[in-house]
């Protein structure tokens, strides 16, 4: 009966047409447009002129750009491992949960389901100097006598943003890892237990290696996602203090805001190229894992 499919190429493509049109019109064309734009110099709200690679050359001497790039990379390096670690803990607890499963699931999904701009507002209040929860807890337990200006110092602002992002996105990592955990047959664990392997031993020499494929997936998804982080930072710090938390997306956005589309596009292209390189890596990896 395989012949049924043989003549379906044409109708197959017709069914794909709306998808192609949307992706081309609203993703590929804008991406190409942005790329072309990056070769132009915009006089804000007036006309633009072709200036070749000048925008890219300007990046080299633009210390704010390097600061943004550095922040974005540091943010990825801080947030992603934390999310993986916590996501793993969450997944193990959820995997073990039996009668309390529905409650736990709901609790874990809540941070994921709250719009990140809204959750950033919640964290903004938690970090509030005068009446935030963070300072209240620290002073109550006597850990500091003076309240801390969380969003005012570059070091604390970095971690404030990171923690807010980790809170929001750990559930996603947990879901992915849990999917992997549930694919591991129980007998593996039972026989390892009979062989006398303890909890920790079983985790490191049995669970973790079997989870490698899903961990790779979560790692790359989250890496690319935190590289393009925008809303949490826009709301929490607006890139401050003094550009200390200005992620690449935010830095690009600032140039769009003043009407310099050329330079904004250049910054976007840089971010785009880094993300593409990572996604190619991801495709390679996932193919490799499947073999």
């Amino acid at each position: 009966m395989l012949t049924v499919y043989r003549h379906n190429n044409l109708s197959g493509y017709i069914f794909l047409l709306p998808l192609f049109l949307f992706m081309a019109g609203f993703v590929l064309v804008p991406v190409v447009g942005t790329l072309l734009n990056s070769f132009y110099k915009d006089v804000p709200f007036l006309q633009s002129e072709f200036n070749g690679l000048d925008n890219y050359r300007s990046l080299g001497g633009d210390s704010s750009f390097w600061q943004s790039l550095r922040f974005s990379l540091l943010f990825v390096m801080a947030a992603v491992p934390l999310e993986l670690l916590l996501g793993m803990v969450f997944a193990l607890v959820l995997h073990k949960a039996t009668n309390s499963k529905a409650l736990l699931w709901a609790a874990v999904l809540i941070p994921w389901a709250i719009p990140s701009a809204v959750s950033a507002r919640i964290w903004e209040l938690i970090y509030n100097y005068n009446y935030g929860l963070a300072n209240f807890v620290l002073t109550k337990f006597g850990l500091t006598t003076e309240p801390i200006n969380w969003l005012g110092g570059s070091f604390s602002a970095f971690w404030a943003v990171t923690v807010a992002d980790v809170w929001k996105t750990t559930p996603f990592v947990a879901i992915i890892i849990l999917a992997g955990l549930q694919a591991v047959p129980d007998d593996f664990h039972e026989s390892a237990k009979i062989d006398g392997a303890g909890f920790i031993r079983r985790f490191f020499s049995l669970t973790l290696p079997l989870l490698k494929p899903v961990i790779v997936v979560a790692l790359l998804f989250r890496t690319i996602d935190s590289l393009r982080v925008f809303d949490v930072i826009y709301v929490l710090t607006g890139g401050g203090p003094g550009g200390a938390t200005s992620a690449l997306s935010l830095y690009g956005y600032e140039y769009y805001l003043i009407g310099d589309f050329g330079y904004a596009s250049t910054i976007s292209v840089v971010l785009f190229v880094i993300a593409m390189a990572l996604s190619i890596l991801y495709v390679r990896f996932s193919r490799f894992e499947r073999e």
Binding site: G12, P18, P30, N37, W105, I122, L125, Y131, D231, F261
Partner: protein, 276 residues
């Protein structure tokens, strides 16, 4: 085999940690929204319960919260239906008609989902300005649909592929064309998956920030996340009680949907991510 005492303790601690980590900020939001003044923690003043923040947000016209909510619900719902219609046609093609180059299409879709939004939104702003679409629903709906197509496609392909081949063959022998097989056979059978994909897309569109920030200008099209992010008091101070009340109202429908459909959300997300 029974778990040891130590393991049980560890598990219970983990349980409490997970609940506390996830819910503490949410409880803080709720408490602030229901409190008379947000300073009660610092100043040691008594906590006094009030619904005033909620009534401000719901009934004070110049805060425009209800406009934002309406815009968000409309834009997200239309995006969800649109995206899943388009993605299910494409997924049907890939999973059931199996045209040449389908793996290529799936990988292209995957890489598209990795594009940073900032590399799209500036150009969209230019085009939409020219068309006079800025600050309209269409300026959000069209990019949202394009934006969530990859995720929808991956989820639906992974689901449609699991259905037995005999379904299509039987329908074909009865004289159904490709579209009839899609509409009369596959969609009804896959309805739970289709609806849960719609729910996921709805949540993604409801969450989206950057497009909504740049492509809208005021309360006639602005969505809730942007509205809450830009919420200002009438006199310049930050009205924390109102903001947290607005956050609660925004969060409640999402939480209800999430709790009701948690199984499907988890299945959808892990299918979208892991099977890719």
């Amino acid at each position: 085999m029974k778990d040891s005492f130590g393991q049980k303790t560890l598990y219970n601690l983990g349980w409490i940690f997970v609940l506390g980590f996830c819910l503490k900020p949410v409880i803080f939001m709720l408490v602030t929204a229901l409190g008379e003044n947000p300073e009660y923690l610092a100043k040691g003043t008594d906590y006094s319960f009030t619904l005033g923040n909620f009534s401000d947000v719901l009934f004070t016209g110049n805060l425009h919260f209800m406009d934002y909510l309406k815009n968000s619900l409309l834009v997200s719902a239309v995006s969800a239906v649109g995206a899943v219609s388009i993605a299910s046609l494409a997924a049907f093609s890939i999973a059931r008609l199996r045209p040449m180059g389908r793996m290529m299409i799936l990988f292209i879709a995957l890489s598209v989902s990795m594009f940073p939004q900032i590399s799209i939104v500036g150009y969209l702003f230019k085009i939409f300005s020219g068309l006079g679409w800025i600050n309209s629903y269409i300026a959000l709906i069209l990019p949202y649909i394009a934006w969530v197509l990859p995720l929808s496609l991956w989820i639906l392909v992974s689901y449609f592929s699991q259905l037995p081949d005999e379904l299509d063959q039987a329908a074909r022998l009865d004289g159904c064309g490709a579209f009839q097989v899609y509409w009369r056979v596959i969609i009804p059978i896959a309805l739970p998956a289709v609806l849960s994909t719609m729910l996921l897309v709805f949540i993604f569109a409801f969450n989206e920030f950057m497009f909504a920030l740049i492509l809208t200008a005021d309360h006639s099209a602005r969505t809730v996340p942007v509205g809450i992010a830009l919420f200002q008091g009438l006199h310049g101070e930050i009205p924390w009680g109102n903001i947290m009340a607005a956050a609660c109202i925004t969060t409640i429908p999402v939480i209800i949907l999430t709790v009701l459909f948690q199984r499907r959300i988890v299945a959808g997300l892990s299918a979208g991510a892991v099977k890719g």
